[in-house]
């Protein structure tokens, strides 16, 4: 490989990243095939348990070390960058594995990295070791381009009160990281033991990553520092979500290609019909673009450079591509794609939920009006 390909700004995958991918993919292939995910989700629905696969999470987060990728080495993490986390998310997207990686190892972790207090550092250490799992108590539908004021407030007695909807990963978190509005000051970040909150999972479109409503009523909490990292956490998560969407799209494309090569109608493989071929060629081109855009966002986020445009472009493109790929996957599977027993729907639901998550493609395009100096009409 040339020197250029090793620079932090390359859009290619480095050798280290490919090794990480191989490890994650190996684990997911063994332990989280789509049929396994489907069975897991279904049994969770029957028993009322959460659909997360916590054994798998332990293997991924602790054994492979994915939980601590973004945490500095002096806190027990791997000190890796967004580039490596993006590779993990590609693989997680490809398998729609139900693990709290995005919620704990990206969102909560990044928010804590910006908090800076000793309490935050101590927590990060526990996250890095895989000893604890965290969730950032913000709506998964929040856009990084619009900064909302926290809805949880601090009581005079230091306890928290408030209700946040649309939170991911709270059901399986040991500790909740909560942005809190402070009267007369900047928002602060608090940590709450999960037992001190009421967490109500709602039936969710995405069966493999449900959302919950998290309520605090005078909940005991400890301050962990500034909430300044929350906006960065949303931007980072939005940028990395593009890699998850890439993974979803890749699974859908390759599964569809494999199916239409085999499935015969009119004594020909369905994939030999030109209209199908052209649609899949167009979809392939979209996925190729998604990879370039997702890699670019990860590279800029990883290098600590201004990633606003890159994240907006990646989200605007990849969010749409994942949905398109999942929709084509259903359509080109015909009837079987409409059945519960085929895993395609897990990807459709993930893709559609991801489209809303962390800003819709429209939100990200609109953000470019400012970021790329393409102002709207003067009204």
């Amino acid at each position: 490989m040339s020197e250029e390909a090793h620079s932090p700004m390359t859009l290619l995958y480095t050798e280290v990243e490919e090794e990480l991918r191989a490890a994650v993919r190996g684990l997911l292939t063994d332990r989280s095939a789509p049929s396994v995910v489907l069975a897991h989700v279904e049994s969770a629905a029957t028993t009322g348990a959460v659909p997360y696969d916590m054994e798998l999470w332990k293997a991924l987060g602790r054994d492979i070390g994915a939980a601590g990728l973004l945490i500095p080495e002096d806190l027990g993490g791997a000190g890796a960058s967004a580039r490596e986390a993006a590779v993990v998310l590609e693989e997680l997207g490809r398998s729609v594995a139900p693990v709290p990686y995005l919620s704990s190892a990206v969102l909560a972790t990044r928010a804590l990295l910006g908090a800076r207090d000793e309490a935050a550092r101590e927590l990060l250490g526990r996250l890095a070791s895989g000893e604890a799992t965290a969730a950032l108590v913000v709506s998964f539908a929040a856009s990084p381009h619009t900064c909302a004021r926290p809805v949880v407030t601090l009581g005079a007695d230091g306890t928290l009160t408030g209700r946040v909807t649309g939170v991911i990963g709270a059901e399986v978190a040991d500790v909740l990281i909560v942005p809190v509005a402070v009267e007369g000051g900047d928002p602060a970040l608090y940590a709450v033991d999960a037992q001190a909150a009421r967490i109500k999972t709602v039936a969710s479109l995405d069966l493999t990553r449900p959302i919950a409503t998290v309520s605090f009523t005078g909940a005991q909490a400890r301050p962990v520092g500034s909430a300044a990292g929350v906006a960065d956490a949303l931007l980072l998560a939005a940028g990395l979500l593009a890699s998850e969407q890439l993974g979803v799209a890749e699974w859908c494309l390759s599964t569809t290609v494999a199916y239409v090569r085999e499935r015969k109608q009119f004594a020909r493989p369905v994939g030999s019909f030109q209209a199908i071929k052209h649609r899949l060629a167009d979809l392939w081109l979209e996925v190729v673009g998604a990879r370039a855009a997702a890699r670019n966002a990860a590279a800029l986020l990883g290098a600590g450079e201004d990633a606003g445009v890159a994240v907006a472009v990646a989200q605007a493109h990849c969010g749409t591509v994942a949905v398109h790929a999942a929709e084509e996957c259903i359509q080109l599977h015909g009837g079987i794609g409409m059945t519960w027993e085929h895993p395609a729907h897990l990807y459709l639901k993930r893709a559609k939920a991801d489209e809303i998550a962390l800003g819709t493609p429209g939100d990200h395009r609109d953000a470019l009006a400012t970021l790329a100096d393409l102002p709207g009409p003067v009204s």
Partner: protein, 390 residues
């Protein structure tokens, strides 16, 4: 006699003057209505009709508004698909036996056509019917059967000769759904519920008297059924529409609006209006006795529009779009499109471009039958079914 509007209306009034449903009960009332030729006026006399023009049915319906009905939802397949086929291909005995309880709703029908291996290419179906004396022994698996768990009878296409090219080896039967060897299992869909069933046929014995049409003529008989299905799918305008629902949400929830969504909504509103006008024009053509080719396109247009509208709605709902109303696995006898949540609508709409003819097949039909474009090279034309690649 030649029936005109006045004569039909008079007959309906006369019937109603003599029959009080409150007195005689629902079923007897429906049976009497059938016997009076006021079930489907375009059917022959003695079979629930008057041999009148199809358009005159509206006169009867107007008169009978408010009287007991025959549960149109449940008997839709019987009415729309089985009945026209029985009328066209059935023996006198079969018509006598089946049409009256079909229309009154006493006997529900379902359809056993599609198979896991035969979707768009229905003619490759593999369910076998082997003749044994005066009976046929049927083995195979059917799928996408709505109402099978309610059905007394089914219309069934099976392969009676695998040695000839696929279209020529099929025969058409009425299947007794109470016969031993018929097993109905609900088929869960991506929406969580089961609108349809899988039907497993294992050594099911059907007397030859249940065969409809000649042996080997099943494809032609099935065409009659399918043509009637497509008319039924394209035909019904609904009062409350998806675009109407979306417009209501849009007006009531100003906080959800963005310029991006606004532009997409406006474009889809135009599409919906264009589709409505196209359907209106199509109905005018039908009424004027000049059915246009536009019909072939309506299902295609509807599927696309409905998918785009429901996709936009989920996005518009944002955090609420991340939720789903109900994943319970249960049977459902109808598509409650506007009653459920946005997630259900989005997922269910995905089926619109697959069920009852995929959008790909419809585009082929438009290209070949409407535009006169040449068909693709066929590789299965003169090959015996058993020798086709699978």
């Amino acid at each position: 006699m030649a029936w005109d509007e006045a004569a039909v209306d008079e007959r309906a009034q006369a019937f109603l003057a003599e029959h009080d449903p409150a007195e005689m009960g629902r079923l007897d009332f429906l049976r009497a209505r059938f016997d009076a030729g006021l079930a489907w006026v375009h059917f022959p006399e003695g079979l629930g009709g008057l041999g009148a023009a199809r358009g005159l049915q509206a006169v009867v319906e107007r008169r009978f508004r408010g009287t007991p009905d025959n549960d149109p939802g449940l008997i839709a397949i019987g009415l729309g698909m089985a009945a026209p086929t029985i009328l066209a291909f059935g023996t006198d005995e079969q018509r006598e036996r089946f049409l009256r309880p079909l229309w009154t709703g006493e006997e529900v029908w379902c359809q056993l056509f599609s198979e896991p291996g035969a979707g768009s290419d229905l003619a490759t179906l593999a369910t076998r019917a082997v003749r044994e004396g005066d009976e046929w022994v049927v083995d195979g698996q059917k799928v996408w059967t709505s109402g099978a768990h309610h059905a007394r009878w089914a219309i069934l296409v099976a392969r009676t000769d695998p040695e000839v090219p696929k279209h020529r080896g099929l025969s058409y039967f009425v299947c007794d759904m109470e016969a031993p060897g018929v097993e109905v299992r609900p088929l869960r869909q991506i929406t969580g519920e089961a609108e349809f069933n899988e039907v497993f046929l294992t050594g099911v014995r059907l007397p030859d008297s249940l065969r409809l049409g000649e042996v080997g003529d099943g494809w032609r008989v099935a065409q009659t059924t399918l043509m009637n299905e497509r008319v039924a799918i394209g035909g019904t305008p609904t009062r409350r529409t998806m675009i109407g629902l979306l417009g209501e949400t849009w007006r009531e929830r100003p906080e959800l609006r963005t310029h991006s969504l606004h532009q997409r909504l406006l474009a889809l509103w135009v599409d919906a209006e264009v589709m409505r006008l196209t359907a209106t024009r199509l109905r005018e053509q039908l009424a004027a006795g000049h059915p246009g080719p536009e019909g072939s396109g309506m299902k295609l247009a509807f599927a696309r529009l409905n998918q785009e509208l429901t996709g936009l709605e989920v996005e518009l709902m944002r955090e609420e779009g991340l939720a789903y109303d109900d994943w319970t696995f249960r049977r459902s006898d109808s598509v409650d499109f506007l009653g459920r949540g946005s997630g259900y609508r989005y997922l269910r709409a995905k089926g619109n471009s697959i069920e009852g003819g995929t959008s790909e097949i419809l585009r082929n039909i438009i290209a070949e039958r409407v535009l006169g474009l040449p068909s693709e090279p066929r590789v299965d034309k003169d090959v015996a079914w058993k020798d086709l690649p699978r």
